[in-house]
């Protein structure tokens, strides 16, 4: 049986990179071998059960690992790039099997907004890290809030236009 679709990739070809991203995030987030092993083990559901809540638990564990370690810009950048991406891939291929065909246009459609959000998050993070560390933290929080406000305003405007 055949479905005549556009350009497609098999679901396993997305699951494997998603697992790789989760493993990379798990490796960079901590230097303790045992913790790294636990986190990589926790990333296995990204490969075998992306449609469950386990990948979100994996992301939470990586976040916890990030919080437990020191704030390093490179490490944080890698983690902020990897975690939302593997979560998005898990959402995309979660309800289908290994052999399912995934349209490239579906991947790119889901990926475009994600790239924007990750870029905003990285920009805010680097701005906040560059700001004086002695402050109470309100500066970068304000920048983040302003960025979120801008995004939400844009979304609302778009929504209102669509309703017309």
């Amino acid at each position: 049986m055949r479905l005549h679709l556009g350009t497609t990739v098999p679901a396993w070809a997305l699951r494997v990179p998603a697992f790789a991203l989760a493993a990379i995030a798990a490796v960079v987030v901590t230097s303790a071998p045992l913790t790294t092993a636990v986190l990589v083990l926790a990333a296995v559901p990204v490969l075998v059960a992306p449609g469950t809540a386990l990948p979100v638990v994996t992301a939470g564990l990586i976040g916890w690992g990030l919080l437990a370690g020191d704030a390093h810009p490179v490490t944080a950048t890698v983690v902020v790039l990897c975690v939302p991406t593997f979560l998005a891939v898990c959402r995309l291929v979660g309800g289908v099997g290994w052999a399912a065909r995934v349209e490239v246009s579906a991947v790119s459609g889901a990926g475009r907004p994600l790239l924007g959000f990750v870029a905003i998050a990285l920009a805010v993070m680097h701005l906040a890290m560059a700001a004086p560390a002695a402050g109470p933290g309100w500066l970068w929080a304000g920048i983040g809030a302003l960025a979120a406000l801008a995004v939400l305003t844009g979304l609302l405007t778009r929504r209102l236009r669509a309703m017309n």
Partner: protein, 423 residues
């Protein structure tokens, strides 16, 4: 859930003054917000439309997703096939063609489509009622035949064949003295002058006419035995396991053989009718023409076994002088009995054996013994038919050792040869 995690990380990052942790949560929160504000408000409409045409069995799936739908996850299933899954982009109306290759013909229920449209970030996902399965008509393949025997008696006053009767036609029968009733244009003046002109008196005696053989057409009645449908694997005959969709059953072969014979008969200008041995309903009466060909094909496509048919008290009535072609597996006596009855009534009968080439590798010893008995009985039945002057054609060659090395084409050519009674 990812949105909740993002909010937790964002809050934690703010509380602990850790921009990296907050930045990790930010894309998740923004993604959730994006999905929520752009969520679809309408309903997804879907339709499954069967498609015509030769080749693989096709259907078209039309999906209309409202604005805001990001992807549609889809699972298409058909009995006997591995389900196919796909994730489609749903930012516009989608038309997807579904196709499958099958050796089966007839009515096929295929393509049950389960689909889940989802908004960005899985903020909303709707479980829609499934579409299908679609009811598809798979037409039998038509194999071109080179020749087919004619009935013993041709009928009618016009047609593509020359009968043994004297009448209107093209082929010369003899020169005969003019008799009342002969047409004047039939007078052969050369012969008349040569034989009856008297040069002394200058008068004519007897007139002579050219008599021709009458033209006629043939009536062919196709009788399909739809009481059983068996696959090539004998292990499936008891109903424990289904026959693979890539394997033709006996009824598929019967449809193909009957459609091929019908096409050949209609192409040469004769009339053809169709009856079903498994159902006591009105047969398709013999007729000619392209519309009738379509009628025959449609009826053949819809032929299927229906429960346990009652035994017939009388054989189906047939037009006199028709060539009867019966398509059966001859696994029981009924088809052979009616074939013998028609032969005794003076019809020319062709018995087309549509048993597929069998495999017995999966049989246990008890089933193998049963099959051996069935095979022996079938062999006796076919031999009995041959003894009664019925030509037996094996459509699939030699399915179980009772067939012949001849293909169906060669067997039909042999049956059509004049020494076997064909014209």
């Amino acid at each position: 859930m990812a949105g909740g995690l993002g909010m937790a990380l964002l809050t934690l990052g703010l509380a602990t003054a850790r921009p990296d942790v907050a930045a990790l949560g930010m894309p998740l929160v923004l993604g959730f917000a994006w999905g929520w504000f752009t969520r679809p408000t309408g309903q997804v409409a879907g339709a499954l439309v069967p498609a015509d045409g030769a080749g693989p069995v096709r259907a078209h799936l039309h999906l209309h997703a409202p604005r805001g739908t990001s992807v549609v996850r889809m699972r298409v299933s058909t009995a006997g096939y591995q389900p196919a899954e796909a994730v489609l982009s749903a930012r516009r109306d989608r038309h997807v063609t579904l196709s499958l290759h099958t050796a089966r013909t007839g009515v096929l229920e295929a393509y049950r489509v389960d689909y889940v449209p989802a908004a960005h970030g899985e903020v909303l996902a709707a479980h829609c009622p499934p579409l299908g399965p679609a009811r598809l008509l798979v037409r039998p393949r038509i194999r071109p035949l080179r020749r087919l025997p004619l009935p013993f008696r041709l009928q009618g006053l016009v047609g593509p064949h020359t009968s043994r009767r004297v009448g209107e036609g093209l082929e010369l029968h003899d020169i005969h003295e003019f008799t009342p009733g002969d047409r004047l244009r039939r007078i052969d003046w050369r012969t008349t002058v040569r034989r009856s002109f008297d040069p002394r008196t200058g008068s004519l005696g007897e007139l002579y006419v050219r008599r021709t053989l009458a033209s006629a057409d043939a009536t062919v009645m196709l009788v399909v035995d739809s009481r059983d449908e068996v696959g090539p694997d004998v292990d499936t005959w008891a109903g424990g396991a289904p026959t693979r969709m890539t394997q033709a059953t006996s009824l598929d072969l019967a449809r193909e053989a009957a459609a091929s014979v019908a096409r050949h008969v209609l192409d040469r200008g004769d009339r053809v009718g169709l009856d079903d041995l498994g159902r006591q309903r009105r047969p398709v009466p013999p007729a000619a023409g392209s519309k009738h060909a379509e009628r025959i094909i449609q009826r053949l496509t819809r032929i299927a076994p229906e429960g346990s048919p009652k035994p017939r008290l009388r054989s189906p009535r047939l037009p006199s002088g028709a060539l009867v072609v019966i398509f059966s597996t001859f696994l029981d006596d009924e088809a052979g009995t009616v074939a013998a009855l028609w032969r005794s009534q003076g019809h020319r009968v062709l018995a087309v054996d549509v048993l597929p080439t069998l495999t017995t590798a999966n049989l246990d010893p008890h089933a193998a013994t049963s099959y051996r008995l069935i095979r022996l009985e079938r062999g006796l039945r076919l031999a009995d038919l041959r003894r009664q002057g019925i030509d037996v054609i094996h459509w699939a060659g030699d399915p179980d050792g009772h067939g012949s090395d001849l293909g169906a084409q060669e067997a039909l050519l042999l049956a059509s040869s004049p020494r076997r009674g064909g014209r």
